[in-house]
């Protein structure tokens, strides 16, 4: 049995999943992201975005020069709700 080629580690997306998305017409990175979940895991695409973008472009027959990243949504690193819920300044009273 052949193994899986993992293109997005966080969400267990395989190369076959990308082929499948392309075959269904979801070959743009933003569309394939929604269909396969690629780039939506704990790393938010840090590890997988470039490889997936390139693979999709080639699979759909688009030149790599057209490849665009998906929108960068904050936060770049996960941040605890408790950090955000604290008072804005040391002087300020409770949240």
């Amino acid at each position: 049995m052949a193994g899986k080629v993992i293109v997005c580690r966080c969400e267990d997306v395989t190369q076959s999943d990308l082929d499948h998305a392309v075959a269904l017409g979801y070959s743009h990175l933003e569309e394939a992201k929604r269909y396969t979940g690629l780039g939506t895991g704990p790393c938010q695409g840090k590890e997988c975005m470039v490889a997936c973008a390139l693979y999709l472009a080639l699979a759909a027959g688009r030149p790599p020069s057209e490849v665009r990243p998906f929108t960068s949504r904050p936060p770049v690193a996960a941040i605890a709700l408790g950090t955000l819920a604290g008072p804005d300044d040391p002087g300020e009273g409770g949240g």
Partner: protein, 444 residues
């Protein structure tokens, strides 16, 4: 560097020895714990990959908190560490059967859509399988939430690698407030994983920066540029010394420099996520910072200068290194399940591709790092896809200025260039910023 354990972690009820202050992921690896996590859908065994806090492969439950990066958490006496998302245990996970039932992948959108009873049952099962860690343990007393801080500086640099530190040094001047943030626990960035540079070189550069009046704040992750808040601010989450929740620092500066480097990315081959397949820089970091060998017979995959330096260092440490350049010879599959035991390597023979099997106990993947361009993009910088630069490179002029006034970038985030070139680039960009400050009307 010999490694002498001096404390003990509590790993799933067992005591595991560790060096206080090293990443928990490294302690566990050194103690022979191979599987740190189970993947979300197929419950495939996973260990850490990048050892740099980027990849998401080493999330564990640590001291009652879910989804904590074991590679960013420093070992200390009595720390409680557990694996997540496995049944009955991280070592033996029966849910990994999913990996066999769906050998290629799965389209859960169109799976079992009918009949209705089956669909309903499937959705119930999927709900139970979803998610990674359990909720955080309740805190015994009402939790004190950390107070934020506001910081106004002249230059805010994100990334204390060779580029960021060099830029800070070059634009530092008496009376000018220059601050460098870095998510790591120590300044140095990619110097810290490079066998030809290492901790000593990183410390020297950081010392030079401090001597020039630069403030370096480690364990401080810049999380976003928010253009609409208070006229624009850089949000930074800073981990306090003694642990606990990070605090939020709202930073505003006259100039921003993004020197965020690049993310390690994996190569594409069958079973490329097996434990034991590491980013090359993780292998380098373990070796030169923590005195831990990734394996006795490692494959090093890649043909860049970093791969060469790593091969040399591993050989000097007594490993039997097997370099695969990735061009003439390509890795097409990994063998082994809970740990990599070999790779299939393909090359072009006279009559077609020839495959040979190599036994190994670790793989170091030395692909080009992908520019960490998110913050710069949020701050209006333009990027372009540059295969030779590792991905989406931030576009700048000769002075490192992006298209957004006051926003600069230098080093690998502008396309991979390597430690020395990144440092030179940082110096140039820093000097350009210093010149701009010296112009009338710009004032420091």
């Amino acid at each position: 560097m010999p490694r002498t354990p001096d404390c003990a972690l509590e790993f799933e009820g067992e005591s595991v020895s560790a060096v206080a202050g090293e990443p928990v992921a490294v302690s566990l690896f050194a103690a022979g714990v191979k599987v740190l996590s189970r993947s979300i859908k197929y419950h495939r065994p996973r260990s850490f990959f990048c050892l740099a806090g980027h990849c998401g492969a080493c999330l564990m439950r640590i001291d009652g908190q879910p989804n904590i990066k074991a590679c960013r958490t420093l070992a200390s006496e009595g720390m409680k560490v557990e694996r997540q998302n496995a049944f009955p245990s991280g070592g033996l996970d029966v849910l990994a059967a999913a990996d066999f039932f769906f050998p290629k992948g799965m389209d859960h959108h169109t799976m079992f859509t009918a009949p209705r009873a089956v669909n309903t049952l499937m959705q119930k099962v999927v709900r139970q399988l979803g998610g990674l860690g359990r909720l955080p343990d309740p805190s015994p007393e009402p939790q004190e939430l950390p107070a934020g801080e506001r910081l106004r500086v002249d230059v805010a640099v994100v990334g204390a690698g060779p580029a960021g530190l060099a830029a800070a040094i070059a634009c530092a001047a008496p009376g000018r407030r220059v601050v460098v943030f870095d998510e790591g626990d120590r300044a140095g960035g990619s110097l810290l994983s490079h066998p030809a540079h290492g901790v000593a070189a990183a410390d020297r550069l950081a010392a030079e920066a401090r001597a020039a009046g630069v403030a370096i704040r480690c364990r401080a992750s810049a999380i976003a540029w928010y253009p609409e808040d208070e006229g624009g601010l850089l949000a930074v989450a800073e981990q306090p010394e003694g642990g606990g929740l990070p605090r939020l620092v709202r930073v505003t500066a006259a100039r921003y420099v993004y020197a965020t480097g690049g993310y390690d990315v994996n190569a594409l081959f069958e079973d490329n996520d097996r434990p034991g397949i590491f980013a090359a820089r993780a292998v380098g970091t373990m070796l030169i910072r923590h005195g831990v060998l990734a394996g006795a017979r490692p494959v090093v995959l890649g043909d860049g200068p970093y791969a060469a330096a790593l091969c040399e260092a591993l050989a000097a440490a007594g490993c039997k290194v097997m370099p695969i350049d990735g061009v003439r010879e390509r890795v097409v599959a990994a063998r082994g399940r809970a740990w990599v035991s070999g790779v299939d390597v393909q090359s072009d023979g006279k009559t077609g591709p020839v495959t040979r099997k190599i036994a190994c106990d670790a793989v170091a993947v030395a692909t080009l790092p992908a520019p960490a361009s998110e913050l710069a993009r949020q701050h209006g910088a333009e990027v372009a896809f540059r295969p030779e630069g590792g991905g989406f490179a931030v576009l700048t002029d000769g002075n490192g200025a992006t298209r957004t006034p006051g926003v600069h970038a230098c080093g690998d985030v502008c396309g991979f260039r390597g430690v020395l070139a990144a440092r030179l680039h940082g110096s140039e960009v820093g000097r350009a910023i210093a010149r701009a400050f010296a112009r009338p009307g710009e004032g420091a």
